[in-house]
């Protein structure tokens, strides 16, 4: 009977876990919707900023602004955007592995600037050089927080302290697929103009106020902010999608386990009943004899 009690306890415990994973899945789904909304709202700002920069930067030379200047990388940085929380499948481990490979393949080895406790903990245990850790970004991961990081990075690049900065983050391809990527942030590769701007007035030039080069100087730092925030939003959405999928799988696994344990429980219960019957029948037979 102690065996039956043990199985019942285990079923209860798995059911409890399943309740938690189901709730986490629902919370992740709600957060994902909100993250996608924020990304969608930001898109019009980011797209307009890109098209304006493409207009101003067309024909600009790398010498026109320090953030465009290409240098032989003697010292480089990677901004790693991971999450603060776990239970999201391979979200953080895939990113950490990609960054490790990237760092080992690059010459000289880049230093790391980290957002998110998961990568912080991972790289602190390893030999990678950590340049800086932004620990408060997820307290309020808005545009202002991303802008602060972008300003820091742009200042480091413009002063010549570092010669290249990359972003490493998870991109959301679909609900079920998040892929870690490394993308160049600085020097800026200005977006290329795709649409035909020749409106009904024909190919007349823009009036720039102030001068084109001064406008470029104001636009480029803002563009870095846009790129950092875009990566942060992408990573947040990917994290919630990954957690949703992981919790869905955990809930299904718990269900499988409950079914399996119920089967064992029923079998054991049936066995116990059969034994009791055998005892009774055996006893009755003995009396008859």
């Amino acid at each position: 009977m102690a065996n039956l009690k043990e199985i019942r306890r285990r079923i209860g415990s798995v059911k409890g876990t399943q309740k938690i994973t189901r709730a986490m899945r629902m919370v992740a789904a709600a957060k994902l919707r909100r993250a996608q909304e924020t990304t969608e709202n930001f898109r019009s700002y980011a797209d307009l900023m890109s098209s304006v920069l493409a207009e101003v930067a067309s024909g600009a030379s790398p010498k026109d602004h320090p953030l465009l200047e290409r240098r032989e990388p003697k010292r480089s940085l990677v901004l790693v955007i991971s999450s603060d929380r776990g239970l999201c499948g391979g979200f953080n481990s895939n990113l950490n592995r990609l960054v490790t490979d990237h760092v080992e393949a690059a010459d000289p080895e880049p230093e790391l600037t980290i957002i998110g406790k998961k990568s912080e903990a991972y790289f602190k245990r390893r030999t990678a050089t950590i340049h800086h850790i932004y620990s408060d970004i997820y307290d309020g991961p808005g545009f202002d927080a991303a802008a602060r990081v972008a300003k820091d990075l742009a200042a480091k690049y413009a002063s010549g302290e570092v010669d290249r900065i990359d972003l490493a983050f998870n991109e959301m391809h679909s609900l079920a697929s998040q892929k870690p990527v490394v993308k160049q942030l600085l020097p800026i590769a200005p977006p290329v103009q795709v649409e035909d701007k020749e409106d009904v007035l024909g190919p007349v030039g823009f009036i720039f106020e102030p001068k084109r080069i001064e406008l470029l100087g104001r636009l480029l730092p803002r563009y870095v902010e846009v790129e950092v925030y875009r990566a942060l939003l992408e990573s947040i959405a990917a994290e919630h999608a990954a957690r949703m999928i992981a919790m869905e799988a955990a809930t299904n696994n718990a269900q499988d386990m409950i079914e399996h344990l119920t089967l064992i429980y029923n079998r054991a219960r049936q066995g116990a009943i059969t034994n009791e019957l055998l005892d009774i029948v055996g006893g009755a037979e003995a009396l008859n004899d």
Binding site: N41, Y45, G142, D199, G205, I207, F208, R218
Partner: protein
């Protein structure tokens, strides 16, 4: 379409305005106001924190305050890219005055060259622009 401009104001939090207007007056970085009408030559300008006035097709106008940003105009559209935008009628003067006092107090406690000044200066400009837009449009008068 020759009489109408599509005015869009976008911020990082999302589009805050998308309207058809007949004229747009904005405040340039040098605090000078300029007006763009339909069929205007393409223009790209840096904006300072200040008033943005949209003239509606019925002759009335809507007033906003935008933070610093960029103004991109063409013959039939105007796009304003800015960090923040608020309708003048939604501004609470006493709240903004309090905000200005707080920022000024904070600034007075900082030394010149302190890194924190940059963000505070931006916020002060934004708060002053909102105050000026409400109490008689001083932001506009400054340049005349």
């Amino acid at each position: 379409m020759g009489e109408i401009l599509r005015l869009r104001v976008v911020t990082p939090d999302g589009p805050s305005l998308d309207e058809e207007v007949t004229a747009v007056t904005a405040c340039s970085e040098q605090r000078g106001e300029f007006c763009v009408l339909p069929e205007h030559r393409p223009i790209l300008a840096a904006l300072g924190a200040g008033r943005l006035v949209a003239t509606r097709p019925d002759g009335g106008s809507d007033e906003f305050v935008t933070d610093s940003g960029f103004f991109e105009g063409g013959p039939s559209h105007v796009n304003v890219i800015t960090q923040r935008c608020v309708r003048v009628s939604d501004i609470d003067l006493s709240e903004v005055t309090e905000e200005i006092e707080e920022i000024e107090k904070e600034l007075s406690g900082l030394e010149f060259g302190d890194a924190a000044r940059g963000e505070l200066d931006v916020n002060l400009g934004w708060a002053r622009a909102r105050r000026d837009a409400v109490d008689g449009g001083k932001a506009g008068e400054d340049i005349t």
